[in-house]
């Protein structure tokens, strides 16, 4: 019965929209939807354990690249000169992509999660968006292999060099699936657009399972070949230079400006590679500044020019581009949506929603803080 219900779903590939030029042909990978449906088939009539709903910051994610391994060499005295920026108004299309993943609950045999992506683009002073999902997944020990297979298939490599099977735990599955979708969308946008600015949420550091160097390099290469520029914004960087947070160095500078951090030796793990030049960007008045990664193979002038284009063609609030802000807003799950997805799963797969006891609360009462797991 459950299977029959799943078979009834009607899904289509993304229709054409008013994307800038060739992005109109953007299509959601059918395998992604099919994987979602297939994993849901594993749900037997049973219980959906209501999880402790973590806040966004508590949502278990794979450790980010920069914070764990990336350290700047402390021996060198920094000589940072701000690069002043000028806005360039030339109607360059700006495209931002962001993906959210959320654990929806647990079943007796696995976890339920949902992934949603949002692409926002600004063209001719008009914002547009395409929201993809939510796509619910039921990840179990049994179907993990199938998920790994998809990871391999969409690692954009003929012969993937990384072995996922031992490393993808169920806890990190939502984030990993989200990364997969994000990477795919980033690739598709890079392929389908020209002369555009593509904004990512994150950095251009590669070398992990979700951010293979080869994949990232190919992405950047594709973008470059189509005269696109990828700008990756990191909202909260913990990178430090001589003990100070990177963004501290730009506080005294007059915006709009960039601080180029490259040139300072860094200690990296063997696997990690910086594919972008790291800047600290303060693009407008306000207290905020961000780590900004721009393709290492682009000359400084081009990077500065791209940043100027961003300033000239997008709204900046606290130095953060509106397009990327909207992409984040459109992809993020609210608590209400989590309830809605739970209800969807409960209804379509006859799950009974059960509130799992919070062990911390049981043991420690009012002192039981933090996530249950």
């Amino acid at each position: 019965m459950v299977n029959l219900l799943i078979e009834q779903y009607q899904y289509t590939t993304t229709p054409k929209y008013n994307f800038p030029h060739s992005i109109q042909d953007l299509q959601l990978p059918q395998q992604f939807i099919e994987l979602s449906l297939r994993t849901l088939r594993n749900i037997k009539n049973g219980k959906l354990f209501q999880p402790y709903i973590p806040t966004q910051s508590e949502n278990p994610t794979t450790p980010t690249l920069e914070e764990t391994t990336l350290l700047f060499n402390r021996s060198t005295q920094p000589k940072l000169k701000p690069i002043p920026l000028k806005p360039i108004r030339d109607e360059t299309p700006i495209i931002a992509v962001d993906v959210s993943s959320m654990k929806i609950g647990e079943t007796e045999i696995g976890i339920l999660c949902a992934i949603r992506a949002a692409i926002v683009w600004k063209q001719k002073q008009q914002y547009h968006y395409l929201r993809l999902g939510p796509f619910p997944f039921h990840i179990t020990d049994e179907n993990r292999n199938e998920v790994y297979h998809l990871f391999r298939q969409y690692s954009f490599l003929e012969q993937p060099t990384l072995d996922y099977t031992n490393t993808l735990s169920l806890i990190y599955a939502p984030t990993r699936l989200g990364s997969l979708l994000e990477r795919w969308l980033q690739m598709d946008i890079a392929v389908q657009t020209r002369n555009s600015l593509i904004l990512w949420d994150g950095s251009l550091t590669a070398g992990t399972q979700d951010f293979p160097v080869a994949v990232m390099s190919q992405l950047l290469e594709t973008a470059r070949s189509r005269f696109n520029t990828i700008l990756a914004f990191t909202k909260n960087t913990r990178l430090r230079l001589l003990g100070h947070c990177l963004t501290d160095y730009i506080h005294k500078c007059t915006p709009p400006c960039l601080l180029e951090i490259n040139g300072y030796p860094m200690a990296l793990s063997n696997a990690l590679r910086l594919l972008g030049n790291i800047y600290v960007a303060k693009l407008s008045e306000g207290n905020c500044s961000f780590r900004l990664d721009i393709d290492r193979k682009l000359p400084l002038e081009k990077a500065v020019e791209a940043t100027g284009r961003l300033m000239g063609n997008d709204v900046l609030l606290q130095s953060y581009p509106e397009t990327l802000r909207l992409a984040h807003i459109y992809s993020t799950f609210t608590a209400n949506e989590v309830i809605g997805i739970q209800r969807f799963l409960a209804r379509t797969h006859r799950l009974k929603i059960v509130t799992k006891p919070n062990v911390r609360k049981l043991l420690f009462g009012p002192f039981g803080k933090g996530p249950e797991n």
């Binding site: 929209y17 008009q126 929201r131 609210t334 209400n336 809605g340 997805i341």
Partner: protein, 482 residues
Amino acid sequence: MRLYRKEGNTIQILCFPNERVEKGDYLQVEDPKKEKALLIQVIDVQFANIPGIMEELLRDSTNNSDDINGRDLDPLDVASQITLIQDARLLLCKIRGTIQNGKLSVSSDWLPSRSKSITKKLPTQTLATLLKINEKMPIYVGETKEFSPLKVDVTALDGKLNIVTGKKGTGKSHFSKLLVLSLIDYGAPIVVLDLNGEYTHLGYTSNGKESEHYAKIHVLTPASNFKVMLSQIKLRVMINILIHALNLPGTSAQEFRRIWRFLREHTKLSLHELGEAIRNRQCNHHVKDALFSRYYTLINSGFFTDNPDDAITLEDCFEKIQTGGVLIINLRDTSFVDRQIVVEYLLGKLVEMLSCWKIKAVFLFAEEAHLYLRETYWNDIVTRMRHFGVFTTFVTNQPDTIRENIYRQADNIFLFNFTNEHDLETVSRAAKVDSETVKSIARDLPPQHCLLLGMAVKDFPIVVKVRALDVQTMGQTRLFFT
């Protein structure tokens, strides 16, 4: 629908938009284990306080602006469930009773299981059957929300004080006419104090033909076909007219009594003889002036006559409606003072006839009674006169003109829409139901919809769409532009 919480006698129920529930609906919360159900009534429908709803709405509000457009690709249609959550409703309900073994009781000293209970709508028709409100002598008042006919027992009006109230144009007079015609059908004698002449065509159908009730409807217009002779009037009634309607001072009233007794002893009670007697009376000239001025007011009212052919007696009129009928006292073109004279006479005469059992009882419909009823009569009507057999129905669009103690003693309140807070506050003081119910439901009642409160519905408030009547409407406001 799920039971969410209980506070005092208020129950909160969560429901989704596809579960159609409106204010006034009855729900039963069944507890399968206890084999009984809590009967609750929806008094307000709110949005459920969903976590994250503010973020949702803010995000969606950007979709509607001109600055951003786009669409969602949701192949699994998960969003439909999210929308459902967004639109989830919280029903505020009042506990009305318990249904157990097919019987309804007002007990509410138990609580159904929150996790196991099943909440579903209880059709009004089923409630009416449980309440047994339509068994003996049913009046078809209208349709329930489920479009089934609602009937109430006419005996719920017998010996009772009723109030029909609501703002202008909501259907009060229409409902009063419905009650009048229904009472006629059951053989009840009725008197209508018709301030605006709205009932004068009650005997005609909407296309102007005589209706089945035509023969039982008698319109009496003071100074026209409703005139009385002084000899028919008791001194007490006349003194009441002089003192209360015409403000005659006590000393002058005393002198009038002497004159009246003298004329009665000499069987000379007539307008002419009264005038002569005042003229020839040896008394203080101020008293004489006072008596003369009242005398001329009585004459000018046109309500009194010395011609036996012009005069009628209320006894004769009541004879006509003894087996069911209505006397409509058309006060439309009657001045304020004359109205008071007529009403004083009528009520005095009614009490007189009732006290000597000339008539068994009478249903009195009083439209905007504050415009002709003197202060002391209000209490008189709901206490003393009620015991004599005057069963009054007040019809008003100004609820504050009826005193609070009248509301408290009202057996039935037929409430139409009010939006004014002050009016709602006044009506909500009625002891028959909690004020929250009255305020919340009455505020949103559509035209021609009535909230029945009181004995007619055994204190279970029921909303009904009042049925149409095939009568000629006369209460509509005259318009200039159409």
